[in-house]
Amino acid sequence: MNLVLLLSPILIPTVGALVLMMLDAFQKEDGGLAMPTALLHFTAAAMALALWQRGVPADTSALHGFLAIDKTSLFLDATIALGGGIASLLAGGYLAEHKLDRGEYYPLIAFSTAGAMLLVSASDMLMLFLGLETMSLGVYAMTGFRRGSPRSAEASLKYFLLGSFAAALMLFGSALLYAITGHTDYAGIAEVLHAAPAVVANDAAMALQFETRAKISILAMLLIVIAMAFKVGAVPFHMWTPDAYEGAPTSTMAYMSSVVKAAAFGAFARVMLAVYGDAASAGSAAGWPAMLAWVAVATMTVGNLVALTQTSVKRMLAYSSIAHAGYVLLGVIAAPREGTGTTAYASVLFYLLAYTVSNMGAVGALILAGRRGAESVSYDDLAGYARRHPAAGFAMTLFLLSLTGVPPTVGFFAKFYVIRATLDAGYTALALIAVVNSAVSAYYYLGVLVKMYMRDPAPGAAIATPMRSGYVTVAILTAAVFVVWMGVMPERWLDLAREAVSAATAAAPAAATAGGTTAP
């Protein structure tokens, strides 16, 4: 198949970002780029779907093992593009309302989206690094976009420092893997890593002892897991998350908490399964799933408990996004299991799409509730909001119910599928902890609803009135359509996710023979 066609989901935002930069340079007034950016993203999503329909060729040797363009990456590409499109629409409303509407924001979104797609398609450590950095550099700038605000500057400083630190950890892990295997592509690394000692010795590949190599391999795995835990905001590497989300412009927060998280999880699952998916690393009680299980428990519990104590809805959503990262981790833990692993991996993809639309919608509803100079970010700001503005209040209610996991919204099925996958893989205690956590989370989500429907604003307090913006309305409607649609027919969407994953596992041998970086 034509290489350009194969890469089109990634090329569209890349080339589009360049065009947007030119448009921004030549237009006389700021603003007006939100719609082209959103269309760009939706086109990329449509292209990913078209490729899916047409069928991905089994022979992708033209990519030289650097990228894996399979149904898994197309599913995630579509998720990322959908999230990016909604985020651009939200930015169109939010930035204009708060007098931040400078054109460079939109190319930054498009570049970050391209990076996120590279990240989920990466099947080589070099591409993983490039995707991670392309995505992150744009998001760092978008976080500090409110230039006059010390809080925005502080948020981007914290995010940048910890993000770069995490990238350095990941790089050192990749470099060590290269040193012991001579490969940078996942398939090649896995092949050498899990070969029997005799084979390696005869190969005379390395000037290192086999025992030393095994130790270095574990060290590299730890470094990569820690780096990815930083990126997805898992406890204990979550410290930057609430600060970065709170200080960032709200439209950036929407992008960071949905798209960046989905991309990081997609890459995380792929690299762990491809490089460390063997029985020894992923099966035993001492393997990485057991280690991640503790991380998942800590992530869910800390995220939910701290979210309970928040007075700012924006910060509450930040902690809730940490808690949701914990739920997604459950699926990642169950994914390497023989037999039930495919459904578990599919539940991860389903969760990422479900969380992207639910969270985008919730943040969008929060943006809608704030006017210039009066951003509604605290629970008190929203008192009586839904009674005064039923439609806007209902939108917020729908998305918060989805985040809580109330049927028939998509959030319920997302949680249901990951918890079922956890049970199928035999982690009963873990599933139980997830259910308890989910119940705890209802308290703080419903707290917002109680404020909106049953409380009156304190005398003299600012009264929240929704801003008027076609962009934000369209964004919320798009997210709402997906929340309801996926909630009404979840099995069909899960089947799609399952198809995405099973195609990937079937294509794995082809990727292995496609040739690594050491091929002459």
Partner: protein
Amino acid sequence: MIITLGHYLALSSVLFTIGAAGFLYRRNALVALMSIELMLNAVNLTLVAANRWLPAVQGDAGTVAPPAPAGHVFAFFVIAVAAAEAAVGLAIVLSFYRLRKTVRTDAADMLRG
């Protein structure tokens, strides 16, 4: 003494650890940036040394070709991206300095809870 790949790996691990320790213990944003650069250079050293120690590729007709320079290329990418990262990072530090008149990370305490 014969210098082996193990020596290079030991050196780069030490460099990486110094960088990580500097990042975690120093409270100056610029020093933190320098520490990250040190960590990235440790990565580059590992990559280039590992590439040097790769075995030669045995061809079909008994020909011997040098190994693919994947590690060298990777190192160039790291250098390029590190430059981009430094550009964004310095801009962020500068905008923080403009608003707060300091580059100390413990002054970044407005967001908490």
